[in-house]
C-alpha cells in the first residue's frame, strides 16, 4: 500500500485476486505475512463477510511487477484457512472502491465543492462551517480524479477502502461446500477468545 501524497496510486500492472477464507482469528495476519515474506506487494486488501456463514471474502490487489499471479494464487492456496482463490485479472469485472474526503472549505467556496461533488456523484455526508465530508464510490480513476479536484481546497483527511470486485454475469467466486455440523461448530469457535470473566492463575 503505497499511496502517493495525493492519495492516488502509481498506475502499473495489477492483479485483482479474490480469496475466500475461513473467518477465523489470525487469517488476515497469515495472508499479510505470506505476502510480505514472498515479496509480493499489496496495493490494497479488503476483507469482510461473504454470502456463506463462516467464510470471508478478501479482495487483494497485487502489484503485478512484484509477483507472477500464478505464484500468488498457489502460495495463497497453501494457507489452510484459504478455501478458494480466483484471479480476476483477465475477467470482465466490476471493481469499486469507497472513499471519504474531509475537505477544507468556507462560505465562499463551498458551492464550488458541491459542484465538483455533483460531477463525481459524490455524496455530502457531513458539513460544518470550515469543512465538508464527501463520500464517493467508483473505480480508482474516478476517486483519483475527485481527490485531484479537491486538492486546491486542502484535503484534511482521506480514507479509501481499497478495491472490491465481482465478475460480470452469472459467474461467481463463491464456495459451495457446507461443513458437517460438528466441524462447522468447531471451526466457528476455534481460536476465538472466550467471553466473560476467566479464572486468574499465574505461573
Amino acid at each position: 500500500m503505497n499511496p502517493s501524497a495525493n492519495g492516488s496510486r502509481a498506475r502499473h500492472a495489477q492483479h485483482t485476486v479474490v480469496a475466500i477464507v475461513e473467518d477465523k482469528p489470525g487469517v488476515l495476519m497469515r495472508v499479510a505475512s505470506l505476502f510480505r515474506r514472498r515479496g509480493f506487494n499489496i496495493e490494497s486488501l479488503t476483507v469482510g463477510y461473504s454470502e456463506a456463514p463462516g467464510l470471508s471474502r478478501m479482495t487483494i490487489v497485487v502489484d503485478g511487477a512484484s509477483a507472477p499471479v500464478e505464484q500468488v494464487e498457489k502460495q495463497l492456496y497453501k494457507l489452510i484457512d484459504v478455501v478458494k482463490v480466483t484471479d480476476l485479472s483477465n475477467e470482465d469485472m466490476v471493481a469499486r472502491e469507497l472513499a471519504m474526503l474531509k475537505v477544507r472549505c468556507n462560505n465562499v467556496n463551498r458551492h464550488e465543492l458541491l459542484d465538483i461533488a455533483n460531477v463525481f456523484r459524490a455524496d455530502v455526508v457531513d458539513i460544518a462551517t470550515n469543512s465538508i465530508i464527501l463520500q464517493v464510490v467508483g473505480d480508482e480513476d474516478k476517486i483519483d480524479g475527485l481527490v485531484k479536484m479537491c486538492e486546491p481546497y486542502g484535503i484534511r483527511e482521506l480514507s479509501r477502502t481499497g478495491r472490491i470486485a465481482m465478475v460480470r454475469g452469472a459467474k461467481t467466486t463463491t464456495v459451495h461446500e457446507p461443513e458437517p455440523e460438528k466441524i462447522a461448530k468447531f471451526h466457528a469457535t476455534q481460536g476465538r477468545r472466550v467471553e466473560g470473566e476467566l479464572p486468574f492463575s499465574s505461573d
Binding site: 475461513e22 476465538r192 472466550v194 499465574s202
Partner: protein
C-alpha cells in the same frame, strides 16, 4: 463420552493419533500435562536438556522412521527455543508436531510472565498452527494438526494450549472425520500431463532423473527404480534425496549441487530432459538458475503445486504424489536404452571421479567416512551436522535405502547432529546409528549426551575434529583471500566431556587407529564418542562456487591433492 481435563484430552488425542514418544521439557504452564503423563504409560516422555534438542529429536525420529515426531515445550522461552528446530523441519518438509503451553487465558495478550505469541512467531515456519482456547477444541485441533502435518507435502505444525485449558474439564468428543475446506492435497496426477511426460521421455536421447526428498516421503523409491530401469534413465539425487535410489545401482550417478559429484552436475547440465521428482530446484542444487542447462525440457513432479514453476518453468507440470504418478508414467514409457548417453556420463566419471580418496598418511576426513562405510557394511543410519563433515558424509558413505541419511539441508542447522541422531535411535532402536558431528556444531547441542545416558541409547558419536568451523575456513580460504577470521576454535577435550556425562570415549589420532576405533565402538553396547582428530586443512571438493553455474563446477586444485 467421558469428561476429561484438557491435559488428559491432549494425551488421549495424541495417543489416538499413534504417538508413542514425546521429546519435551517442563515448565510452569505445562505442569498440568506432566502431572497427567503417568496416566498414559503408552506415551514415552524423553526429557531433553534444551528445547531445540526436543525439536531436532522429533525431526530425527520422523526422518528415520517416516512417522510423525512430537516435541513439547513450555510457554515463552520453552516455545521460542523450539523455533530453530521447527524451522529446520519446515525447510525440509518433515512431519514434526510441536506442542506448547501458554499462559492462562486471562493473561493472554497482557504480557503475562513467560508469554510469547508462539502462534504468531511460527506462522511462517509451520504448515498451520492452532491456539486452543477451549478444552473441547483440543481433540479436533490435534487431529487436524496431525492430519495436516503428515499428508500432502509434510511439514511442521504447532498446537499452543493455555495452562487453564489443560486444567479445565469438558466432554471428550473424538471425531474420526476431518473436513478442511481449504486443504485438499492433489495426489493423483493429471492423466493428460502424465501422457505428455511419457511422450517426452520416449523422445528424449539424454534424459536424467533428479530425485528429491519427495521420493523418500512419498515412499516411492521402488516405483522410481522401476521407471529408471524400464526406460534406462540415469538417476541423480538432490542432497536430501540421497537414499531415494540405491547408490550401488548401475544407473546411479550420485548427487548434484554445490558439493555434488562433478559427473552428476555435468549430466544435469547436458541432459535434454530433466525428470524432477519430489524436489524443489533449490539454489544449492541447481547453481545459478539463469545458466542451468539452457534449452533443457523439464518434467516436474511434485505434490506441492507452488513448487512447480517457482524457480524454473516446467514443460510438463505434474502435481501429485510420486507413489501414484510414477507407476502410471512407467506404464506409458517405452523400454529404452540410452547407451550413448550413459557412456558419455561414464566417461566424465572416469575422467573426474570426484569420490576418489588420495593416498595420504594424514587422517583425511574422507578416509574416515569411507572406513565407516566399510566397517558398517554400508548399513548404518548416518546423521550429520552442517559443514564440511556433512558433505563428506554425503559423498563418501554410499547409501542404499531411503531414510538412511538424516541431515539438515534446507536450513543447514548446526547442532542438528546429536539430537537428531537421538530421535532416530529412539524411532529405530535396533538400527546402528552414527552421529557424524562437527566439532563446532557438536558444541551447540552437546548437552543432549545426558539423554543418551538417561535413555541408554547406543548412538555412536563421531566428532570430525578439525579445530575449525571448517566450512567457514574453506570459504575464507577460497573466497576471502585466506583471511581466516574467527574460523579456528579452541576445542574442549571432548573425551573428558563424554566422560563427565558417563559416556565412553576414544580419541583417534592416527589413520591407523581409525578402523580399530570404529570396530570398538560397534562392539560397545551403549553410547560411545570417537574424537577423530582429522586433517585440519582439508577442503570439500568438487565445488560450485556461490553464484556459479553447475557447468562451472571446480575440482580439487593440484596443490591440494599434493598435500
Amino acid at each position: 463420552m467421558a469428561r476429561l481435563t484438557g491435559a488428559q484430552m491432549t494425551l488421549e488425542s495424541l495417543q489416538r493419533e499413534g504417538v508413542d514418544t514425546i521429546f519435551g521439557y517442563p515448565g510452569g504452564v505445562v505442569l498440568p500435562l506432566y502431572d497427567t503423563l503417568p496416566q498414559y504409560p503408552g506415551i514415552r516422555h524423553v526429557l531433553v536438556r534444551h528445547e531445540q534438542g526436543a525439536a531436532h529429536m522429533a525431526d530425527g525420529y520422523a526422518r528415520a522412521s517416516g512417522r510423525m515426531g512430537v516435541c513439547l515445550g513450555t510457554s515463552g522461552p520453552g516455545a521460542t527455543n523450539l523455533v530453530t528446530g521447527i524451522c529446520t523441519s519446515w525447510m525440509d518438509s518433515t512431519p514434526v508436531f510441536a506442542l506448547t503451553g501458554n499462559v492462562t487465558r486471562s493473561l493472554l495478550g497482557k504480557d503475562g510472565f513467560q508469554e510469547a505469541d508462539i502462534t504468531g512467531i511460527t506462522h511462517s515456519i509451520t504448515k498451520h498452527n492452532y491456539l486452543v482456547m477451549r478444552p473441547e477444541e483440543i481433540p479436533l485441533s490435534i487431529r487436524e494438526a496431525a492430519h495436516i502435518c503428515q499428508t500432502g507435502r509434510p511439514g511442521p505444525v504447532l498446537v499452543d494450549i493455555p495452562k487453564d485449558v489443560f486444567q479445565e474439564e469438558a466432554e471428550f468428543d473424538w471425531t474420526e472425520q476431518i473436513n478442511l475446506r481449504g486443504y485438499k492435497p492433489t495426489t493423483e496426477g493429471h492423466a493428460g500431463m502424465i501422457r505428455r511426460a511419457a511422450e517426452l521421455i520416449n523422445q528424449a536421447t539424454r534424459p536424467i532423473i533428479i530425485a528429491g526428498h519427495g521420493v523418500i516421503w512419498g515412499d516411492a523409491h521402488t516405483e522410481l527404480l522401476e521407471l529408471a530401469e524400464k526406460a534406462d534413465i540415469p538417476v541423480i539425487t538432490t542432497f536430501l534425496g540421497i537414499g531415494a535410489f540405491p547408490e550401488s545401482h548401475d544407473l546411479s550417478y550420485g548427487w548434484l549441487g554445490m558439493h555434488g559429484m562433478f559427473y552428476a552436475n555435468m549430466a544435469a547440465d547436458q541432459a535434454d530432459l530433466v525428470i524432477a521428482i519430489g524436489m524443489r530446484f533449490d539454489d544449492r542444487a541447481m547453481g545459478r538458475f539463469k545458466d542451468f542447462n539452457p534449452g533443457v525440457k523439464i518434467i516436474h513432479i511434485d505434490i506441492d503445486p507452488a513448487e512447480i514453476g517457482k524457480n524454473f518453468p516446467a514443460a510438463v507440470p505434474i502435481v501429485g504424489n510420486a507413489k501414484n504418478v510414477l507407476p502410471r508414467l512407467s506404464d506409458l514409457t517405452k523400454e529404452a536404452e540410452h547407451q550413448d548417453w550413459r557412456s558419455w556420463i561414464d566417461q566424465v566419471r572416469e575422467e573426474h571421479p570426484s569420490l576418489h580418496i588420495r593416498e595420504s598418511r594424514r587422517m583425511l576426513p574422507q578416509y574416515v567416512v569411507r572406513t565407516l562405510y566399510d566397517e558398517t557394511n554400508g548399513d548404518a543410519t548416518i546423521v550429520t551436522g552442517v559443514g564440511q563433515h556433512q558433505m563428506w558424509a554425503g559423498q563418501h558413505y554410499f547409501y542404499k535405502r531411503p531414510r538412511q541419511l538424516v541431515t539438515s539441508g534446507g536450513l543447514g542447522t548446526m547442532g542438528f547432529e546429536l539430537p537428531a541422531a537421538i530421535g532416530a535411535q529412539v524411532a529405530l532402536p535396533d538400527a546402528e546409528t552414527w552421529a557424524i558431528c562437527g566439532d563446532g556444531g557438536f558444541q551447540m547441542t552437546l548437552q543432549e549426551m545426558a539423554v543418551l545416558v538417561d535413555e541408554n541409547l547406543p548412538v555412536k558419536i563421531a566428532i570430525f575434529n578439525n579445530g575449525y568451523l571448517g566450512m567457514i575456513r574453506q570459504w575464507q580460504h577460497l573466497f576471502y583471500d585466506r583471511n581466516l577470521v574467527d574460523a579456528a576454535m579452541t576445542q574442549p577435550d571432548f573425551c573428558k566431556l563424554a566422560d563427565a556425562y558417563g559416556i565412553r570415549a576414544i580419541r583417534v589420532e592416527t589413520k591407523a587407529e581409525v578402523a580399530p576405533a570404529i570396530q570398538e565402538a560397534r562392539a560397545h553396547k551403549g553410547p560411545i564418542l570417537l574424537d577423530f582428530q582429522i586433517d585440519q586443512e582439508e577442503n570439500v571438493w568438487p565445488m560450485v562456487p556461490a553464484g556459479a553455474a553447475l557447468s562451472e563446477t571446480i575440482e580439487a586444485p593440484a596443490e591440494e591433492l599434493a598435500r
